[in-house]
Amino acid sequence: MIASSRAAGRDPRFLAGCLLAIGALAVALDSIPSLGALAAAGLGWALAARPGWRRLLLLAAALGLSVWSLMVSQAIFYNQLPRTAILVLAPPDTPVIGTLTGGLAIYREGIWHGAVQSLRLVATLSAGLAAAWTLEPSGLLAAFASLRLPHALAFCATAAIRFLPVTVEEAHVALRAQRMRGLRIGGRGGANALRALLSIARPVLAASIRRAETAALAAASRGYDPARRRTSLRPLRMGWGERIVLGAALAAALAAVTAKVLYLLYASGLYHHPALAALYTFTREAL
């Protein structure tokens, strides 16, 4: 379900800019406190979108499963050195598992690394979902126009967002139709599942092509022409609040990326300037 961004006074360019800033910060930051703050910002944005309980459940499930799998896999399979085992699960002399793996343990550095990756994921996933929940497809047309990007791309994106739920529903119907005729999905090492997938691909694809043709004709019959200038019912206007938030987010992202690049140049011995000593320390300890 797509809520109105413009009805809530938000601009698609604001959403895209904020996503860009959060993505850049998630890559640039390494410290747990700063990534924790970024994850909190992403989660705060998702909650501010006022998701219903279904969406909250979806968010919780997506985050919970991702964080759990990242933490466990990194804690057990962390292979960088140094690493400190804090709990031995299977000593190296354990038959089969120990011999095959050289022993299994939970490593402190692995937990740390898993936490960093998890916080990055929480920040970007929450922000991405928040943007998707608050993006009005028709706002994309105006946003692309204001950014001087091709209309045709925006139209494709708009139509894809509009018809995605219809296509998902059709895939459900196609699968049910095959199951009622005796198709089995489970068992045989995934062969049945693959067969089920193939059996629904054709009707769903055919329906999508037919719908795409009708949608294109419907757009053309209402005067849509990707080569012509178009206007908008509500021209995009970013409010002062949005400008300030977006400016701050982009500035923070730019500053973090710059600091990180300078620090990496210093750490690898490629470039060093004594006047930047305080920045190096700050980047190492805080970012």
Binding site: S138, L141, R162, E170, V204, A207, S221, G223, L233
Partner: protein, 512 residues
């Protein structure tokens, strides 16, 4: 006089098609006139409409010969945005033509394409929504609208272009009786108040005829007859000869074998209810009825009345939380999709989604193969299914390359080949012309009658004529509750009135 639209020897052939879709059309429509175009499926109605606003030939591969004039000018020389703002085109299925998320954005889409300033767009949106009686839905999401509401929004989105001609391609085919009447009332008001020229393609003649000034009958791309209002009666023999619906004519009830009243019902449900969410109003409430062996039960009601929900519950597609369902005399508290496989066939509203094989014969054979029936038995079942639906001639064709009516028959034959005792059919007659509809209903009746009182069908339909023609009993729903239940002839005699006001009368005479 300058005509609104005139076709002068118009001939069109789609690229790669073996024959012309339009064969020398000569027809002129006066400004402010309402012309009803009718003819059997594939007669060229939609193609003719698309030539009027330039979608043909500009957006369709093919060759147009002759001349199409719009308000005295050759359509070939009118720029696309101008032509499309003069002649608005409404497509058959509203679901596929709504492109934006929210209603007001959908209606604004056209004026935005015409590069109107924002203030003017807002005015057009307001006015178009009011004209289509859809103002209350201005901020709604398109996906949340009912079929009738979607069609109104689609109509508003065309009206926002300020067209001088409105071309409508089967505008009521997906709608129930009440929604159809509302759309037609809106069109009548626009014709009266704005002097709008209307060009309506529709095979349900009775619905639209009261609005029309002229009736044009097409067949195989050519005009067979043009009948002004005072000579509509003369068109009836022609309509009948083409297998089309003649207005005022109630369908004949087919003779049938009596249902086995003494045998236990094939399916029985008691106090059945369903909600899609805890806080949502009930989609179905306190519903009790049954399907007797040898019976066709018509399940009727307006869009959103709970018909598909009931079918979903009976087929195990939805979990039963309220009430009880018995299949073949056995209570089924935990009904699931797989527990009915092979004994109950479900025809979904869009049969295209049921097709997945390379050939028609392969499609029909798929069910018996998946059910692991012995080879000889499977062969017999496939042959019987193909024969019952008249498909042997199409056996080697790709199911997606045959006509819509034929695709429906392929999907049905594929179900029959699984050897079911009961068929649950969700709107199988929607969008079919009278000839195809009649043939399908006869096939269904025959299948039930040949089952020696062991078979039955629940037929979900909007079409009172179809129900009257083949059903033994009718169950009418309204807002998820029982509105009427009993012998079809008795129940449906009240269609269009009182508690059954949402249903269209059997003679189709439910114009604006």
């Amino acid at each position: 006089m300058t005509h609104a639209i005139a076709w002068r020897g118009a001939r069109f052939r789609y690229a790669g098609a073996p024959a012309d879709a339009l064969r020398g059309i000569d027809l002129a429509i006066a400004p402010g006139e309402c012309v009803l175009l009718t003819g059997p499926t594939g007669c060229g109605k939609s193609t003719l409409l698309r030539t009027a606003n330039g979608l043909i030939p500009r957006e369709s591969a093919g060759r147009l010969e002759g001349r199409v004039e719009v308000f005295g000018q050759d359509a070939a020389g009118i720029p696309s945005p101008v032509l499309r703002s003069w002649v608005g085109l409404l497509f058959q299925n509203p679901e596929d033509q709504l492109l934006c998320g929210r209603v007001e954005d959908e209606v604004a889409f056209g004026p935005e394409n015409l590069a109107e300033p924002p203030g003017a767009i807002a005015l057009r949106v307001e006015e178009a929504l009011a004209r289509a009686s859809a103002s209350a839905k201005r901020t709604s999401l398109c996906a949340e609208l009912s079929g009738g509401e979607k069609q109104r929004v689609a109509l508003a989105s065309v009206l926002a272009l300020h067209p001088r001609v409105l071309a409508l391609d089967e505008p009521t085919s997906q709608l129930d009786g009440r929604a159809s009447r509302e759309i037609l009332r809106s069109l009548a008001a626009m014709k009266r108040e704005l002097g709008l020229t209307l060009l309506i393609a529709e095979h349900r003649v009775g619905r639209v005829l009261p609005l029309a000034d002229r009736l044009v009958v097409l067949e195989e791309g050519a005009v067979l007859g043009v009948f002004p209002r005072e000579r509509f009666g003369e068109a009836l023999p022609l309509l009948r000869s083409l297998g089309l619906e003649a207005p005022g004519e109630a369908p004949a009830r087919a003779p049938r074998a009596p249902a086995r009243a003494e045998a236990p019902p094939l399916v029985r449900f008691r106090r059945l209810g369903h909600r899609y969410a805890k806080e949502a109003p009930p989609a179905l409430a306190d519903l009790s009825a049954e399907l007797a062996p040898g019976e066709i039960l018509a399940l009727m009601g307006p869009n959103g009345s709970g018909k598909s929900t009931l079918l979903g519950l009976l087929a195990g597609l939805l979990r039963i939380r309220e009430g009880e369902v018995e299949w073949f005399g056995r209570p089924r508290p935990r009904l699931s999709l797989s527990s009915l496989t092979g004994r109950v066939g479900f025809l979904f509203q869009n049969p295209d989604l049921m097709l997945s094989a390379d050939t028609v014969e392969g499609e029909v054979a798929l069910g018996p193969r998946l059910l692991r029936r012995p080879a000889a038995e499977a062969r017999r079942a496939v042959a019987r299914g193909m024969e019952a639906l008249g498909l042997p001639a199409l056996a080697r064709r790709n199911p997606f390359s045959v006509s819509r009516g034929e695709r429906l028959r392929v999907a049905l034959a594929a179900l029959l080949a699984c050897g079911p005792r009961v068929l649950l059919l969700d709107e199988p007659t929607a969008g079919l012309d009278r000839g195809l509809r009649q043939r399908l209903l006869e096939d269904l009746r025959r299948w039930v009658d040949e089952g020696a009182g062991e078979r039955g069908i629940i037929l979900c339909t909007h079409d009172t004529g179809s129900a009257l023609q083949c059903a033994d009993r009718a169950l009418v729903l309204r807002e998820g509750r029982l509105a009427a239940w009993g012998p079809a002839a008795e129940v449906l005699a009240g269609a269009g009135r009182g508690a059954l006001a949402d249903l269209e009368p059997a003679d189709g005479g439910s114009g604006p």
